[in-house]
Amino acid sequence: MKIYAEENNGSLRLSFSGELDHHGAKGVMKTVENLLDEYLPRVCVIDLSELSFMDSSGIAVILRINKRMNGMGGKAWVENPSGQALRVIDASGIDRVIRVIVQTR
């Protein structure tokens, strides 16, 4: 599991790579919280294009980011989930809470 961060003009892009399950989730949450505190972005883009696997632990991470961004008066959305991640997102119904953009490229 790796996370890459790229900030540009108040917009923070978090790119997740590898497999996101319960084993990695705690470290991911901590890293993400720290990044949000560091950049205090207006927008947080959760880029899942490089994520090869995600289960409900990933859903918890996405919901946490969304809550944090809403709390800061900002916005978050999900971009480019791979096929497997998209199935998990669809099954969980979180697209009612956070915008999910499939294939922006």
Binding site: E19, D21, H22, H23, A25, K26, M29, F53, D55, S56, S57, I59, A60, L63, R64, G83, Q84, R87, V88, A91, S92, G93
Partner: protein, 146 residues
């Protein structure tokens, strides 16, 4: 039902074993020639069931997780994940979407995902004795030309 083949394994409830469990089940299930989506669904369901044992069955402790995968009939995959942990006091409640006793770190979507990715999910639990989750999925047969 004809038991065509099976694997059984046991491992400790360490979170590092989550990826091992889903990879092992995926490797065994591959012989049914599942589509990529079917394989992804099965691996995700296993990940959820095993994570439940690790987070809920043995809180603050390490216990044993038993996994059995059977091929019943030619197209039916059945997976059982069993623990000897604390048990689920209210199974109906535990299966509700968004319900969790795991706090902010957990989404409460584990059973919902197992149910939407598998054809059948059966849960049995006894307080102080453990929980057993059995799920099955039919892999529709395809006709390969090679």
């Amino acid at each position: 039902m004809e038991n065509l083949d099976y694997i059984k394994m046991e491992f400790l409830s360490k979170s590092v074993n989550e990826s091992f469990a889903r990879a092992a089940v995926g490797a065994f299930a591959a012989r049914l020639d599942p589509t990529l989506d079917e394989l992804a669904d099965i691996k995700t369901a296993v990940s959820e069931a095993v994570t439940n044992c690790i987070v809920h069955a043995y809180p603050g402790d390490i216990g044993l997780i038993r996994l059995r995968v059977r091929i019943l009939e030619r197209e039916l995959l059945e997976i059982t994940v069993k623990d000897g942990g604390v048990g689920i006091p209210d199974i109906k409640k535990a299966r509700e979407p968004m319900y969790t006793t795991g706090g902010d770190d957990r989404s409460g979507m584990g059973f919902t995902i197992m149910e939407s990715f598998m054809d059948k999910v059966r849960v049995r639990s006894a307080a102080g004795r453990g929980t057993s989750v059995t799920m099955s999925r039919r892999i529709r047969r395809r006709k390969p030309r090679l």
